[in-house]
Amino acid sequence: MTTDLQPRRRTSAAPPWWFTLPALLLFAFVVLVPSARGVYYAFTDWDGLDPDFAFIGLDNFTAMADDPDALQAIWHTLLIAVAITVLQNGLGLLLALGVNTAIKSRNLLRVLLFAPAVVTPIVTAYLWRNLLGPDGAVNSLLGVFGVEGRNWLGDPDLALWMIVLVVVWQFAGYSMVIFVAGLQSIPKEIYEAAAIDGSGPVRRFWSIVRPLLAPAVTINLMLSIIGGIKLFDQVYALTGGGPGHATDTISTLIYKDAFTLGEFGYSIALAVVLTAIVAVISAGQYTVLNRNEKAAS
């Protein structure tokens, strides 16, 4: 089939480039151009309204380095993102291993455990704000077991972890479903052969499941860490960044600085830092996980 007819037929079948135009225009108008403009505003003192604003170089960024609220927010953002990633995927994997067995309720459990992931985050966050309140259901439940209740969201040492708890509760089922999809792509024969050869469940998990689950791990880690870094709704609804600034993240600070303080330029500079963090982590993750996936296959 190496006639000279084939390449010509290929090119005639190739769809024209202008098919990408509508998507590209929309994407450019909504994401690309505003993001580029955002990077420019990060070097200005714009207040969001005044057409006269000045280019101030790196001032916003040096101001950030001296701003304890900003530094704290960056720290909180990283802490929340890492905690969510570890706990959500750890729990998601355990749930996936649980429902991917011969238990009778496995389909029902999958549907139930995934359900919170489709509900509006701001709504689940308000629900939990009440549950974790001083007279809320969590304290009532603890009271039944004779444990003294606490002011979960009002305590600066606890509030951040409560945000993590709510996100993990909502999205562990999401990780679970992706892990289940990964587990089901592992051929049963390999697993059974290993069992016949006398390897125990731990050995089988480590030597068979873990490497073959690599694509699911990649997707899950990417989704949860990027989601964690961008987190806004849950913080807004649960604590509003408080008490004090104990739970402020980069996202809530961006919102406050832009819309309550009118510091648009500074706020956009924070968004640029957020972008840089996402980019560095995504790139690092891509390199490491891609290598692992290749090594596993």
Binding site: V30, V177, Y236
Partner: protein, 273 residues
């Protein structure tokens, strides 16, 4: 592995216990939403004389009806647009091996990592200058563009795994590229379209940050913004708030439960791509 042993039974009980712990917040939500404000017993005690009054009050005072219509409108129109333009764009991006194609694909994929906070603030200014602030159409425009990268990513992955035979046959038979796309490609894309439809619907419907910026202060609201406003207005009247929360999640849960099979299978498809 397929025998139901005592161990399997123990695991079953454990998993059901875990599911009960997960469902506990939902129990409290439903329990309190049906409870009269005068009933001050423990939030975990089963409500003794349930009432529907919270629901009628929340519906009347929260403007939830209007918000529901806006949310349905914004979600339906923007998801329709994004599915159309993304599937169309994915076709040459998946098929062409030219340099422009690879470059364009990478450019669009850049959108997967750019945080929306970066674009949303400068776009706020453009939306204001266009006079669209406070209009739900600003949201349609925003989501149509914002969801392009993820949706195109799904379509390109799916298309790359599809054989070219059918479209080549169609081209030889004299189909133009648009006709080939409409009658040959689009029908083959159906499984991934369902996945993309559901995932886009969930993220557009649930978004809070953007409508908070673009619609605040106007009488146009989407469901998440209306709920947030409602919580602010009825600060400590949690029975009423819970009724509003419950009303707001019913449409999402209804869509989820009717499509859950294809949603969960869609993930499996996405993994192979």
């Amino acid at each position: 592995m397929n025998r139901y042993t005592t161990k399997t039974f123990a695991l079953e009980m454990l998993m059901i216990a875990v599911a009960i712990v997960f469902a506990f917040p939902v129990y409290v939500l439903v329990n309190l939403a049906f409870r009269a404000p005068s009933d001050t017993s423990s939030p975990i005690a089963l409500t003794q004389s349930p009432t529907l009054a919270n629901f009628t009050d929340a519906w009347r005072e929260g403007g939830l009806g209007g918000a529901l219509i806006n949310s349905v409108l914004v979600t339906a129109v923007s998801v329709l647009i994004v599915l159309t333009v993304s599937s169309l764009a994915a076709y040459p991006l998946a098929r062409s091996t030219a340099h422009w194609s690879r470059g364009t694909f990478l450019l669009i994929m850049l959108g997967l990592i750019l945080p929306f906070q970066l674009a949303a603030l400068p776009l706020y200014q453009t939306i204001r200058d266009l006079g669209l602030l406070g209009s739900v159409w600003s949201l349609v425009l925003f989501y149509a563009g914002l969801q392009v990268p993820f949706t195109t990513f799904l379509y390109v992955g799916f298309l790359r795994a599809l054989p070219r035979d059918f479209e080549e046959a169609a081209t030889i038979d004299g189909c133009g590229p648009l006709t080939a796309f409409r009658y040959v490609i689009l029908p083959m894309l159906k499984p991934i379209t369902v996945t993309a439809l559901v995932l886009n619907t969930v993220s557009v419907w649930n978004d809070f940050f953007t409508p908070l910026l673009y619609l605040s202060g106007s009488d146009q609201q989407t469901m998440p913004v209306a709920v947030a406003g409602f919580v602010g207005q009825f600060v400590s009247d949690w029975n009423l708030i819970f009724a509003a929360l419950l009303i707001s999640i019913v449409p999402v849960l209804a869509v989820y439960l009717s499509l859950q099979r294809s949603i969960i299978n869609g993930f499996a498809g996405g993994l192979k791509g």
